[in-house]
Point group: C2
Chain length 273, copies 2
């Protein structure tokens, strides 16, 4: 297969093959964002399982053990950090969407500082966004590298202001935040959207579904209409970096913060796996 005849990046010739990376060209890749604490990867098994599932669905064949061994070594070396692992299908000499059989996946480990103190505001305000998420069961749940919808969501949130924006699907159901999963409360009961059409199946979401009953928080997955957002009395959001974050305000309306949710946040914070 003959490759490109010439490649310019910002007008200058480049002979390295990274401009041909399929994640750069098509977002043809997957990632995980992990919290490292005390030199250990938190919830490693859940991150491993999600990445492995994504690799199966996208037919990406990687040396998973080597990837997670390197991740573990970086965790031990940096002790407290955020670790992003990205798996791209790799560079392709050929143009076009068909994955070349010869492509070797490219694995990246990016170590970032741990969350800064004050990253989560004392008053957590949420805004419902106009930006929507397209539905595609073949991609639903995966943490893949096609994230323009979240980028548009964050751009809208910058105008609306608020800590996180909630996004619905193209068919009008609630899905998630731009960078988090969402649980909305009606009285004592919380529901979180089913993610079979779109959205990312968050690791912290799975932890909450597993742990909530221990804190007398009732949670279940359900199809949630955007209209139900208007009726809810409490909301919390989750992701692997922040854990469980109770919201104080939704679209300018004050929310109740149940004690049980704060207990759940504490419980999850104390867990390693």
């Amino acid at each position: 297969m003959s490759g490109p005849l010439q490649v310019l990046v910002d007008g200058a010739p480049v002979t390295a093959d990274w401009p041909l990376d399929r994640s750069l060209q098509y977002g043809d890749g997957l990632f995980e964002t992990l919290t490292v604490r005390g030199g250990r990867l938190r919830f490693e098994a859940l991150h491993r399982a999600r990445l492995a599932g994504g690799c199966r669905r996208l037919a990406l064949s990687i040396d998973s053990n080597a990837l997670w061994q390197t991740a573990g070594e970086l965790a031990a070396a940096h002790v407290e950090c955020t670790l992003k692992v990205l798996v791209s299908r790799g560079s392709s000499l050929a143009r076009g969407y068909t994955p070349p059989p010869a492509a070797t996946p490219r694995v990246m480990h990016l170590v970032y500082p741990p969350p800064a103190a004050g990253e989560i505001p004392t008053r957590v305000r949420l805004a419902t966004l106009q930006a929507v998420l397209g539905e595609n069961p073949a991609l639903a749940g995966l943490k893949h590298c096609n994230r323009l919808e979240q980028v548009l969501g964050r751009m809208e949130l910058q105008q609306a202001s608020g800590f996180e924006g909630l996004m619905g699907s193209s068919s009008g159901t609630l899905v998630s935040g731009t960078m988090s999963n969402v649980f909305i409360g009606h009285g004592e009961e919380f529901v979180t959207p089913v993610l079979d059409q779109c959205g990312v199946a968050g690791v912290m979401r799975a932890v909450v579904l597993r742990e909530a009953a221990q804190c007398a928080v009732a949670v279940r997955e359900a199809r949630v209409s955007l209209a139900e957002l208007g009726d809810c009395t409490a909301v919390f959001i989750t992701n692997a970096r922040m854990g469980v974050v109770a919201a104080h305000e939704l679209d300018g309306r004050p929310l109740h913060v149940p004690e049980a949710v704060l207990r759940l946040a504490d419980r999850v914070r104390a867990l390693a796996d």
Copy 2:
């Protein structure tokens, strides 16, 4: 803004900033694929307009004149080639979906050989795919770098076999091929799907909508159900590299190839702009 503490690519430290490119991380970019013939960019004005529209919608600020001047110089130098231009939002030191105000877009020009003789088979077979396209009006029409759905479509097509696969939206309407726009004929009339919910507004599609009447081909945009595919008597597909390609078979069913479509293909092939 502090950047990553450490970056490994395939286990080796990298200090270059391309691993932080937002098109690689999120598919946060746009591209154009042009045919260069006789040292000239074909349909340059249409490609310029689509890229400019995409930059506006994604709030990407680029030096468009410099980009197209370089493209023109490459066209003159290579005479016959396929030129891919990719605009990424650029590298970002910070993690997260919010576009950093300081990001400088990265512009890439990739020169590929022209289409090989025999690239288009003498008998063009199409297959209707199970893979769907998610709907998002904010991204509809753009040639952005979130192309996993097309990658999945091509993977399915490799199993089904055929030259091109046709894809529907999550709500069950016909949208396009994996790499082409589609026109389906009922008797003397052709329709091509409206692209307000998903799909790429192809340059060659626009040329066909402009030129078809000159060849006595009636074309119009419409909402097209997948069921209508079963009734159609003729289909042609279009893109900037192939021009107009009449299909001979759809899901194993023979199609009629109208003389007028062949005339349209010839007419479009002869055009420069």
